[in-house]
């Protein structure tokens, strides 16, 4: 177990390192940082001055090492666009994104798991078709459009929810519905196929023959095993929610990391963007690792 975790941890560190290189080089080659700071109208001389002042005239590898050693010491750099330390910008915005991610994950769980169970318990019936229809539609619906539709319907025509903003938890309900919907199809399908498989297993037949049926059978015997893969997929989906927050946060004007990312990109603010890319990637990796460990912990068959 310990060795498994150590191995996985090494991979995570290696990937994180690679991604930090990719993010840094990609962003610093695709755009001239000196040009970005000096602005569109700056002439050659001004750009050169900026280049010298910020040290952009040194080789990119040197700048990367400087940036990365700073990162390790907790120095995330300074944003050109906001004129603030990047870590401060990010700290301010984490609560909104975290709230959104967790609330939308709850939406996914509350919709996908019961629906997947119902579909698996009564395959090829109306319920099953309905669940499949939901999954197919949710996959084809553009996220931002769903958000705007909900605003039109539930905030403008029937003013039940606020149009946008992030002041109270109430403001987060519509955005969570939107972001949660995007994870419903994969989770629901996995729940359905997993449960169908388990229901055909020998030990379920044994439990049936002992007189268990209905909800008791589902909760005490089949659901436990069928949930194992779902749990790890949920952890992965939570990672997607951080990265996917860009669209939802800009539709609903939530001041989270996603909106910060969009604003930084539009402001060509490389220091903030590269940290955000790194943070999103690292969160995803960490959640994946967590999912793997959780799986081994929950399923004794995987322990050796």
């Amino acid at each position: 177990m310990l060795r498994f975790i150590m191995n996985r941890l090494l991979v995570v560190i290696a990937v994180a390192l690679t991604l930090s290189v990719v993010a840094f080089f990609l962003l610093n080659i695709a755009i001239d940082p000196a040009q970005a700071i000096a602005g569109e109208e700056a002439n050659f001389l001004e750009i050169e001055q900026v280049r010298e002042r910020y040290g952009f005239d040194r080789p990119i590898a040197v700048r990367y090492l400087e940036w990365f050693s700073g990162l390790l010491q907790g120095d995330f750099g300074t944003s050109y666009y906001w004129n603030k330390p990047v870590y401060q910008l990010i700290l301010e915005r984490i609560p909104e994104t975290l709230t959104l991610a967790l609330m939308s994950l709850s939406v996914t769980v509350l919709v996908a798991i019961p629906l997947g169970c119902a579909a698996a318990l009564k395959p090829n019936t109306m319920i099953d078709r309905f669940a499949l229809g939901i999954a197919v539609s949710a996959q084809a619906i553009p996220n931002f459009w769903l958000g705007l539709m909900l605003i039109i319907l539930l905030a403008v025509i029937y003013p039940i929810f606020p149009v946008s903003g992030d002041k109270t938890l109430y403001h987060f309900i519509l955005p969570s519905l939107v972001l949660g919907t995007s994870s419903v199809p994969p989770v629901m399908r996995l729940m359905r196929t997993g449960l169908l498989e388990v229901m055909n297993a020998d030990y379920i037949r044994t439990a049936r023959s002992k007189g268990y049926f209905g909800w008791k059978l589902l909760i005490r015997h089949s659901l436990r095993n069928a949930l194992l893969p779902v749990v790890s997929v949920l952890a992965v989906q939570l990672g997607h929610k951080f990265g996917g927050s860009v669209i939802t946060e800009s539709v609903f004007a939530i001041n989270g990391l996603g909106r910060l990312a969009l604003e930084s990109i539009l402001g060509a603010d490389i220091p903030t963007v590269q940290i955000l890319v790194f943070i999103f990637a690292f969160t995803f990796l960490a959640l994946n690792l967590f999912a793997d460990i959780l799986n081994v912990y929950l399923d004794p068959r995987l322990r050796k």
Partner: protein, 301 residues
């Protein structure tokens, strides 16, 4: 009598060639037929219909701004779906949007297929450390926040249709890789690959002539689904302002432009969204259908 009919029907099936079986499955698969039909209608509306309409999607008429669709009060049959904030005919803009979406979807899926299938075949064929290197690249790609990176690169490089295609394609190849690798691993231990090796075929020949053609069915399924994903990505990028730029009528961009009129002219958002939904829905249903049809295990029914 009924039973005899069933028996003869089954016998027919046994005499059929694989392609005849597939064709028959395709004819009886409701989802596939619906998806293909809807897709053909949208393709016709996007590529053929505009040839017969003389209105330009860029022509502005400021005296006719923000007209609602014809069937709503205040609409005219001169502009069936109304006009946008600059007085441009909305129907023709939405029709042109279908072209943009389909072009980008197909293009990006091709780019992704090229990267993913190549890496997948190489990893599956050679195995060993090559496979591990490819697996490492895959892990890195999966961890990258795709949308965020796409936004950044498109914005920094300068948005154009070609850039959007390449960037979206370069970020959506993981499924191709996983599927191609698994299938290649299975195929490379089959007898005909050994036979090809025995008569002296080079590795490259085996990969392109023996392995690749046998991946066709699985790749087509992934390709179809990735076209849908790419179309939604393009719409998201354009919606956020870092994809297709005005005045080109991309559906994502139309929705972004309509957002300002959210409170009083919601159809500016509703209409392109429905178009987008129907296009992706048709493609996904077709992809699911092809998966069922090409799967030799699936039942005909």
């Amino acid at each position: 009598m009924n039973i005899i009919n069933k028996l003869t029907a089954k016998k027919d099936l046994r005499d059929m060639t694989p392609s005849e079986v597939m064709l028959r499955k395709a004819r009886t698969h409701k989802g596939f037929k619906f998806g293909l039909g809807l897709l053909l209608v949208i393709a016709f509306l996007g590529f053929i219909a505009p040839l017969f309409i003389s209105v330009s999607p860029f022509e502005q008429d400021l005296s006719m701004r923000l007209l609602p669709p014809a069937w709503v009060d205040g609409g005219t049959w001169q502009h069936w779906l109304g006009t946008d904030g600059n007085g441009r005919d909305y129907l023709i803009r939405i029709l042109y949007g279908a072209r943009i979406s389909m072009t980008i979807g197909l293009g990006a899926a091709c780019v992704g297929m090229l990267i993913g299938v190549t890496l997948g075949i190489i990893a599956g064929f050679f195995g060993g450390w090559v496979d591990q290197v490819v697996n490492y690249i895959l892990t890195c790609q999966l961890a990258l926040p795709g949308l965020l990176l796409a936004m950044t690169i498109v914005f920094l490089v300068g948005p154009s249709i070609l850039v959007v295609i390449v960037v979206i394609g370069a970020l959506h190849w993981t499924l191709f890789l996983v599927v191609a690798r698994a299938a290649t691993k299975r195929i490379r231990s089959l007898d005909y690959v050994t036979a090809a090796q025995a008569i002296g075929a080079s590795k490259f020949q085996i990969m392109t002539r023996d392995v690749l053609p046998n991946l066709k069915n699985q790749i087509i399924v992934i390709f179809t689904l990735e076209v849908g994903v790419a179309i939604l990505s393009e719409a998201s990028l354009s919606f956020l302002g870092v994809g297709i730029q005005p005045p080109t009528p991309s559906w994502g961009l139309l929705i972004a432009e309509g957002k300002d009129a959210l409170f009083y002219q919601p159809w500016l958002i509703i209409l392109p969204g429905i178009a987008l939904f129907l296009l992706v829905l048709s493609i996904n249903m077709m992809g699911d259908g092809i998966r069922d049809i090409t799967d030799p295990e699936s039942n005909i029914e």
